[in-house]
Structure formats: C-alpha cells, structure tokens
C-alpha cells in the first residue's frame, strides 16, 4: 500500500512552479524552486514567498489561558496583539480568551498532547482545536515584504505599528487572514494564516502583487538557511 502522505493547499501550485519536494513528518513540502543560494539572495535583497502550511496551528479558546500557558510552558500568555516564543512553539494572543499556538510540523502532536493534559487539570471550559490542516500559511520574507503586503491590506506594516512578534487579524486580498510578524534573523517576515481553500488564490494574488519588486518563490531549504 502507498505510504501515507500529506499535501499542503499549495502543493499543485508548487509542483507547477517546478518545486522539488521533501518529506517532513509525512508532509510533502517544497524543498526548493531554483538554486537555494538564489532563493536566499532574493529573500535577503527584496522579497520571497514561501509555503509553510504544514506548520502546526492550534487555537485555544477559554478564560483559563494564563493558567494553561503557565502549566504547559511556565510562561505568561502574551498581550492581545502580541506573540512570544515558548519552548518550541510561538504563542499569539488574538483575544483575551483566544490564543493561537504555532509550531513546527513535527511538534504538533506533542504540543496538543501537552495542552490537552494541562487543560484537563484546569477548571472551566477550554477548547483546544488543531487547525493545522484547515489553514494555509504563506510567509512573505524580505525587506520588501511590508511593501507587498501594503498592496493587499490596509494595515500599517511599518516597524513601529507592526513590530516583530505582533499579530493582527485583517482582510488580505479580500480574504480573512491572521497576520503574524516573525522576523528571521534581521530579515522581516510576515506569515498569512487563512482558509486552506483560499491558499492557492492567495499565493497567486500575492505573487502578482509583488511582480515588480521581484517576488519569487522560496523553498524550505532556503528558509532554513536564512
């Protein structure tokens, strides 16, 4: 029998763009589209777009968020609109009673287990839902990423209004997205988390918007090298 595999919403587009795929925790991920050095250089010089939809995306709803984050990560939940690193995960506070946890693909199960175990020991209703498969996650990486986003969304993506580790919810290219800023080293990077079914549309629309600033696809290998 064929071995179990998983595909992101961008799989067909990546294949069409000539991506070479690699396996990460059962996911078929775009390893590279062209020479890795060229992809890295494009991201550093201007802007590049990458598909990180396999990343874990877990939402937690309830009024016990502080207690939960303390129990799982011995950390304080970030303020609304902000994110914070916690162990191998990132915590993003969407509302006072709504937290988004992002992880690497291979850490989703372990994180869910820890969360569910801790939640069971707490009083009050806490709903923990793994949205990994339901959300695409596109990353715009590079110094021109804010400019490209500014063609699709009315938010201010300047460093003062949207600093590193900030989170906002807004319309991007007429679709509802959670926007995270998580710079990679000194390189600005914004992640767009939205409906998986709209991932392909969003990829095509963002690529079109960034055409004149040299927006290029970026593979996983180049991302890891940044």
């Amino acid at each position: 029998m064929t071995e179990l595999y998983k595909q992101t919403p961008l799989h067909a587009i990546a294949a069409q763009a000539g991506a070479q795929f690699t396996d990460v925790d059962g996911w078929q991920l775009s390893q590279r589209f062209s020479a890795v050095e060229a992809e890295t250089a494009a991201a550093r010089a201007a802007v590049a777009l990458t598909d990180l939809s396999a990343n874990g995306k877990i939402t937690i709803e309830g009024h016990q968020l502080e207690a939960l984050t303390a129990a799982v990560w011995q950390a304080t939940a970030p303020a609304v609109g902000a994110g914070a690193a916690a162990d191998k995960a990132y915590l993003w506070r969407l509302r006072p009673d709504h937290l988004l946890v992002t992880t690497a693909p291979e850490d989703v199960v372990a994180t869910l287990t820890r969360l569910n175990r801790a939640a069971a020991a707490l009083d009050g209703l806490l709903t923990i839902t793994d949205l990994t498969h339901g959300r695409s996650e596109l990353w715009l990486v590079g110094p021109a990423s804010a400019e490209v986003l500014g063609r699709l969304c009315g938010l201010n993506f300047g460093p003062a209004a949207f600093p590193n580790l900030a989170v906002r919810q807004s319309s991007v290219a007429k679709t509802a997205q959670i926007i995270l800023r998580r710079d990679i080293g000194q390189t600005p990077a914004f992640a767009l988390l939205g409906a998986a079914s709209l991932g392909a549309y969003l990829w095509e629309t963002v690529m079109q918007a960034g055409q004149d600033v040299g927006l290029a696809p970026l593979g996983r290998q180049a991302v890891l090298g940044l």
Partner: protein, 961 residues
C-alpha cells in the same frame, strides 16, 4: 520627418532632456524627433507643431496652453489609449500619437463646420432639441454619440496591470514646490515621517522653470535636501486625487492608486495659470506664462518666435525677459496696470519691444494659429490695434489649486484685495502653505512652508507649537507682498470667447443659461457642464464664478463656489479597480478533479466538479455499484462544552438533548422569522463535543450567526469553532460502499455495529477519520471526514479499494439528480426568503413543544393556520419534457393565466426514466397526490402531476442495507 531643430534652443540650465540621445515617434503618421525627457508636446513644439487636437464641440484647433496637465487642449490618442495629456506624457520611441476629434485629418476636419452653426447650438440645445419626436431619440442618440465624446476606446485592448498601495505616514505633503519642500523638511526635522507627493517628474514646483524675482535671492536646493532626508519619502509623478475624512488621501502614479493614511496633511498645491476671456482665447499659440517658461527652461524649446506678453503683474515682465534671453522676439508687453503700480520692470526689455500700460488684449487673430493680437486700452473705446506675432503669453494671475482644501472641509473665502479664493479656517490636522494659501513671494512661500511643517509636527505631538507671534508676522508679510492676480477675467468682444475649453462653453452660453434661470453657481454648472470636463474646473471655475456674479448682480463672495468633488484629476477605471482580486476556493482535490476530466463549476466562492463527462452514468454508478464525490465544501462546525445541546436546541427547530453519543440527526435552522436558513447533519461525538455540517455556501454565515447568538446571551458553557477546512469530506455512496470501505479498515461496518444515522471514528488506510452513515443520495453511504492534508491520499485509496467494485467519481450534477430522486431539498434553491420548514414539507422536524428557539413564534402561527403554499414533488405528463427551474405554474382563468406557483428543481431521472421535480403550489392543490396543474413553458401550458414523498425508494430501505 518633422525637424525638431526649428524651435529647439541651446542647452538650458535645469532642462530635463538628454540631448545625447534621440528617437522618433509618429504624430498623425509623421515621424517626430525627440530626446529622452521630452514630453509628446515638447517634442511637437520643438518641431513647430502647434495644433495638436481639436475641441469637443466645435472641433476648433487646439494646442498646448498650460503645459502643466491642467487644461484639456492637448489631449491625444496614444496607441489604444485616448485622452492622453501630451504635455505630461513622456515621448517614447515608436509611440503612435494621433490627434483627437478629427476626421479625416487634423488640418481638414470635416466636423469643423459645426462652428458655423454655433449660434443655433447654445448650451443645453441638445436637451431641448432632440427630445421630440420621442421616437427619433434612438437615432439622435446614435448620431450624437458618434459626433461627441473624447477619443476612441478599443475594446480589444488587453487589460493593463494595475494595483493599489496603502501608505501610512505621519505627515503627507501635497505639492513639491518651494512651500511643500520646506514644509516636508521642517516636519521631518521634528521627527515626523513625511511623504511628499508631487505630480511632476521632479519636485521643485515653479522654481524649476520660473525666473526668480529679484528679491528672492539664490534659491536653496530644497529638492535635493528632501531627497536626502531619511525621514522624507518623495513620490514624484503622483497626483493626489482626493481628500476624505481623517486625512485619508488617494493618489495616482501611473497605473497605481495610493490610499494614504496621514496623521496630518499639508497642502502646498500651488496655483494654476488663470485664463483671460477674450475673442479666440484658445487659438493655438495662446499660451500661459507657465507654459512658455516650462517649454523654455525644462525642454529647451522656444514657445514661439514673436511674442506678445499680456500681463497684470511683474511676473509677466520676467517672462518677457526670459523669452528675450532665449532668442524670442518680444514684440509687445501689454500690462493692464498703470506704470506707477509696476516694479522697475520695463528696463528688462530690448529697445524694440513695445510696451502698453493700461492695455489688454481684445482678440487673438489667425487662421488655425496665432498670427497676431488686437490690443486696446482699458479705459477708452478706441479701435484696437493689431500687433503681429505667433505667440500670445497670458499671465494675468493665478487660481489657487484649492480643490483638495475644499474636500478637506476648509473654509475658503474670496479675498477682494488679492482677487483670489484663499483658505480662511483650516480643519484640525490640515495645513496650507505657499501659493495656494496666498503666498506670492519666494521668501514667504518658504517661511509659510516651514511654519506648516512645524505646525503639523506639533499637531502630532512631536514638537512644541510655533509661537502665535510668528504666525501673525507671516500673515502680515503675505498681505504686504505683491499682488499677482487681476480681478478682471474678461474683456469685451464679438467673437467666440471660451470659458470652458473642455466642452466649448462660451461666455455667451453662460449668459444665456443665467437668463434662462440657471442663476445659482451649482445650477449653472450642471446645466452648462462647466467644470465637468477633463480639466475639472481648473481653467473655468474661477472665471465662471466672476461671470455669474456679474450677470446676477451679486458679489463674487455671494456667488460662492461649486463643490470640488473627487477625483480632482481624470483617473482611469483600471486605476480605481486595481489588481483583479476575486477569491476562489479550491478543495484539496481540485487538481485531481481537473486532471481527471472534471467539468468545473462555480458554487459560491468554490470551484466544484460538476461532472466527469456523463452525469447519468455517474448516477447509474451510484445506484448500481458505488460512487465517490468530494463534498469538502460542506461547512463544518465544532461545538464543545456542556451547554452545546441547549444552544443547538435554540438554534435548530429540532430537539437535541436526547441525541446519544455516536448518533447523527438531520437538522433545520431558521431565522427568527421562521424562515429556513440552513440545514445539515449534527453528530454527537462525545458528551460535550458535537459536529455540525452546514451547506457549502452557508458555512461562514452560519458560524457568524452562531457567534452572534453566543455573544447575545446564549453562550453559556459552549464554544463554537469553524473547522470547515480542517477536514475534507467525501461521500462514498452505493450498494457496494460498505465493501469498498471495509477494504481500508478492520472496524466492523455491518448494520448492527454501524447503523444508519450513526457516526464512528475509523482509521482508514492509516488515517484517523470521522465517518457518518447518512444518505443524501438515497443509497447506503458513508460521509468520510479526514484531515485536509491527507485528502488526496485517502481519496486515492478509496478509488483503489473501489476499483474491483466499479467505483466512479461523481459530480454535483449527478448528486443533484440523486437527491431529487429522493425529494431531498436544497436550501436556497427549493426554499427562498419566505419559506418556512412546515410549508417546505419538513413539519416533522419542527418541535414546537420545546423551549424557546429561533423561529418558534412564527412557526406556531403557521402550524395553527396551515401553510398557504407547500413544497411538493411533481412529474410531467408528457415524457421527455424537463421544465427549467424557476418556471411559473399557472392556472388558466378567463382573465388569462394566473400564477399560482413555481418550479424549484427539475431533472430527468435516469433511474426512473421520467421527469421529476419539486415545486411550490397552493396548499389545497399540493395536498392531493396525482392532482394535475400546468407549467408555462415557452408560452405553452404543460401538464404536471403532484407527487408526495420520495420518487425513489420511498421507504428508504436502500439506506439501511
């Protein structure tokens, strides 16, 4: 080829052209030599082409008048694009430029004869003339549309690329002249981020081309300072189109629309040259002072060979001096002021130049272009004297470019002393500086710019406010400055004297309109179309106000102004539309469907496979073997918490408290008027976890609907999470479905272990899935929900497993037939905004005896009164006839057919080999199985019969095998 050396000067300081390179483009088929940096108009002017296009109504020859993109006189067709401003558009190699409003040629235009009949075509003539006889209007309209209009659009032109860019800035400065630049620098020095927008290729404003006044001294290079300042971003060639509430601006650069959010805005928009109304005032060769200077300084082109300068200020004399320096013979300077009011200016002229004090121009003379001017004294009725020349420079004053200030809700009033409309009270966060604010001298412009920059920074809390003494001192300085504008807007005459160059409206037209009663400035505008053409009032608005005031006996201040609406400059619809963004939803199997021959259809935002080539065969596969359909588009909501059953009880018309874990129930959801909103199945996965599906198009709306009620007080101990896209979903349907599924799991799938309307967690081919045994198609079927990322894998495994059983994928069309054979409704197709579930044959689902739920009261009323209309099935009497969905059901009466219902669904059933459908009928008729009624099809009445219950397997035995 046209010789571009005819009017080209030696290199000029500050010129924008690169003389080291040349290229050619064509104008009306003739090659024109140009340099990089030339505009179309400057290259044409260098080649001595002074007539560029013809006018809108009378087809009069027109040439460059303002050289600033403000007037409509140089609109040309470039390639497929009409209404291109030749004076602003860079010439490019091989560009194909054509004049507009000409046939067959610019020189000999057949429609120019209309000018001979102008006395019969006053303003508004076509409103009155062509309305009778009414039947002729279509013909008149066709002819008028052919004659009128500007340029020609080629519908075959491929779309260009457009986009939008949001900008956020502390201070937006509109205008890159001396005031704007100094304002930007002052604000940036206080720590503000500044965006400066200028419509020209380089900032600098009139300092780029105008000769400085003697008092101005050396001009600082503010543009270079602004470009170098890290806090300032300069946007050249960017026209600000509008200003809305909260300092929200829109601007256009090329094919891009900027949407700008600014903390404070400084308008340093400058001023336009003001036309003087006189006989033949738009004859090619009549140019504004600014145009003459731009041609000289920016492009190294003589605007003419023999110039007559008409002025009312010292600036005109500087222009005359500049022309002389460039080798243009200034034959006369005509100044309406007495010599005593002028500065020490006359010495700048050569000895042979004639000077006329207290004189003005009465007429431009020439056949097709200026050959001279009639000059007359202002105070005496004497015969004008003719002065020969090929250039008439008009420099009698400026109109402040205050349209954006108006839009920003600035109070603007007419200043009698300055003869200009100037800002009086500015809204908070809005500042004005420079010529638009009445600053005339260079030093004042700089000071006012700096002050505005500091005020803007202070408004944002970045710096202390400038002392009021400084503001007062500046106001005094401005008042003491030289006067630049004349209050005189016209001189008497007897020929055509155009106020509006866009639409050929003359002063006589305005007089007539006012006499007809259109005597308020807003009415006058609408009737005469003045200020509604491509110049958007820049050339005509101020002069119209003066004329209206004179003819109505009011002051200019009493007459008021027209409303300056956005956009202030013409903008293409493509720029407003921006990048094409139409969200499309695709399931995880989209590529598979396409690769396997699916005909795709649009379903809301979704793309779905309508069929794989043969819907009846797909139906047959499901009825006889097994089929597989992608239903990932279904909405999927997760409800958690002990409060979930209470909440479901309130949202649905069904009861939920007693649904056991592992059971599934079909539910109907109504709004508070008892109208069916949505339907789907709900599974109880655990004591506190529920899984609800909605229609594909309703997922988002139902999630929001539930959230609304949760937050309105029904949200005790329950969370609703939209997991529509977390899981893909497939329906495996057909008598062999169990056998197929069994190949992928060790779980017991027999009826006793997994009965109809139950849910199970199964591992299929190694993937954890949730499977509901439900039956929209009427066959044994399993709705398989698996993680979306594994959708492709699971789908392929199901097809592999089903190969030996004759499995076939089926599309939406087959599904529609299958469900119709079972008489299952589709919400939104078989129901509408008035359909309640009792009338829609789902009374069995409505539990009126439970506690409060949405729609309970109106549904009680329906239950008590009985429905007026009912949704029922029907068959057609005539075989093979399939009525279109939406057709009317009529009852013949003596007065003609009476509409009594309509068809909502209809198909030919391949299983039953007959036409089946659903329709709304009056309840008494619907209640009689076999009763006949008529459907109006293509004008004929076709007989149909009422059918109750499913058409296929009425007892539902096949669902439970």
């Amino acid at each position: 080829m046209l010789n571009n050396a005819l009017y080209r000067l030696e290199p000029q300081a500050g010129e924008t052209i690169d003389r080291a390179q040349t290229f050619t483009f064509t104008f009306e088929g003739r090659a024109v030599i140009a340099h990089p940096g030339d505009t179309i108009a400057s290259a044409l002017a260098a080649a001595g082409v002074h007539v560029i296009s013809r006018s809108f109504k009378y087809h009069r020859p027109r040439g460059v008048m303002c050289m600033a993109g403000h007037c409509p006189n140089c609109l040309v067709q470039v390639g497929d694009e009409p209404n291109v401003r030749a004076c602003q558009t860079p010439a490019e190699p091989d560009m194909v430029v054509k004049p507009q409003n000409v046939w067959p040629s610019l020189k000999k235009d057949a429609m120019a004869f209309t000018g001979l009949f102008s006395r019969f075509m006053p303003v508004g003539f076509y409103y009155k003339t062509f309305i009778r006889p009414q039947a002729m209007w279509p013909l008149f309209e066709r002819i008028l549309r052919r004659i009128a209009g500007l340029g020609k659009v080629n519908p075959a032109t491929p779309p260009d690329r457009y986009d939008k860019q949001y900008l956020h800035t502390d201070v937006a400065v509109v205008g890159g002249g001396p005031a704007g630049l100094s304002a930007a620098l002052a604000a940036a020095e206080q720590g503000a981020t500044v965006s400066l927008f200028d419509e020209n290729p380089q900032p600098g404003g009139h300092w780029r081309y105008a000769l400085p006044a003697p008092d101005d001294g050396p001009l600082p290079d503010l543009a270079a300072q602004a470009e170098a300042h890290p806090g300032i971003t300069v946007y050249p060639e960017t026209t600000v189109l509008s200003c809305y509430e909260d300092n929200w601006l829109s601007a256009r650069r090329g094919n891009r629309l900027f949407k700008i959010r600014a903390g404070a805005v400084i308008f340093a928009t400058g001023a336009y040259d003001r036309p003087l109304i006189f006989d033949n005032d738009e004859l090619p060769g009549v140019r504004f002072g600014g145009a003459a200077q731009r041609l000289l300084r920016l492009y190294g082109v003589q605007p003419g060979k023999r110039a007559i300068v008409v002025t009312a200020n010292d600036g005109g004399w500087r222009i005359a001096a500049g022309l002389q320096a460039a080798g243009v013979s200034v034959v006369a300077v005509v100044d309406e002021r007495p010599e005593s009011e002028a500065g020490a200016v006359s010495h700048v002229l050569q000895a042979d130049a004639r000077v006329f004090w207290r004189h003005t121009i009465r007429a431009a003379r020439g056949a097709g272009a200026v050959e001279g001017a009639d000059i007359a004294p202002l105070d005496a009725q004497v015969r004008p004297q003719f002065i020969a020349g090929d250039l008439i420079v008009i420099n009698i004053g400026l109109t402040p470019a205050n349209g954006l200030l108006y839009q920003a809700q600035t109070k603007i009033s007419y200043n009698e002393d300055r003869a200009e409309f100037l800002p009086e009270t500015l809204p908070a966060g809005v500042f004005a500086a420079g010529r638009v604010a009445g600053s005339h001298a260079g030093a004042t412009e700089l000071a006012e710019g700096r002050l505005a920059g500091r005020q803007a920074a202070a408004f944002l809390g970045l710096a202390p406010a400038p002392p009021s003494a400084e503001i007062t001192a500046l106001a005094g300085q401005k008042a003491a400055g030289p006067k630049r504008s004349s209050a005189r807007v016209d001189v008497p005459g007897s020929q055509k004297r155009f106020v509006c160059f866009c639409e050929d409206v003359t002063d006589k037209d305005l007089e007539t309109a006012i006499a007809e009663g259109f005597d308020s400035i807003e009415l006058l505008k609408r009737y005469s179309t003045i200020s509604m053409g491509p110049c958007q009032g820049k050339m005509c608005a101020a002069n119209t106000i003066h004329l209206c005031a004179r003819h109505t006996g009011q002051s200019v201040a009493q007459t008021g102004t027209t409303t300056a609406r956005p956009p202030l400059a013409p903008v293409s619809l493509g720029v407003l539309a921006g990048q094409n963004m139409e969200p499309v939803k695709r399931t995880a199997l989209d590529a598979w469907h396409r690769a396997n021959g699916a005909g795709m259809m649009v379903a809301g935002l979704w793309m779905r496979p309508e069929h794989y080539g043969n819907p009846p065969a797909e139906v047959q596969a499901v009825r006889e073997r097994v089929g597989l359909i992608d239903v990932s588009t279904l909405g999927k909501l997760q409800l958690t918490g002990p409060g979930a059953p209470d909440f479901l009880d309130r949202i649905y018309v069904n009861k939920w408290q007693k649904l056991g874990v592992g059971r599934v129930r079909y539910g109907v959801m109504c709004n508070d008027e008892g109208v069916v909103m949505n339907d789907g199945v709900t599974a109880r996965l655990s004591e506190t976890t529920w899984y609800t599906t909605t229609t594909s198009s309703g997922a988002g709306a139902i999630f929001e609907w539930m959230q609304w009620w949760l937050q309105s007080g029904w949200g005790g101990e329950v969370h609703v999470t939209n997991i529509s896209e977390v899981n893909a979903a497939f329906n495996l349907a057909g008598p062999r479905a169990r056998a197929v599924l069994q190949k992928l799991t060790d779980a017991d799938l027999l009826n006793e272990a997994f009965p109809y309307m139950h849910v199970r967690h199964l591992t299929l081919a190694g993937v954890a899935c949730m499977v509901m045994r439900i039956g929209f198609t009427g066959e044994l079927s399993y709705e398989i929900h698996c993680p979306t990322g594994a959708a492709h894998y699971v789908w392929e495994r199901l097809l592999d497993a089903g190969r030996d059983f004759g499995i076939a994928p089926f599309g939406v069309e087959a599904q529609r037939i299958l469900r119709l054979e079972k008489a299952h409704i589709i919400v939104g197709q078989d129901t509408d905004a008035l359909s309640d579930p009792i009338s829609a044959d789902m009374a069995w689902a409505v539990k009126l005896d439970k506690a409060d739920f949405l729609g309970q009261r109106p549904l009680r009323q329906v239950a008590q009164d009985g429905p007026a209309q009912r949704l029922v099935g029907f068959t057609m009497a005539r075989p093979g006839l399939v009525p279109d969905e939406g057709l009317q059901i009529v009852r013949p009466t003596a007065a003609g057919p009476e509409i009594i219902g309509w068809v909502t669904s209809s198909r030919h059933s391949p299983t039953l080999n007959q036409t089946i459908g659903l329709c709304w009928l009056p309840a008494p008729l619907a209640g009689q199985p076999g009763a006949t009624f008529t459907i109006r099809m293509n004008g004929k009445l076709e007989e149909a019969r009422v059918h109750h219950g499913p058409f296929y397997d009425p007892q539902g035995d096949r669902l439970r095998i």
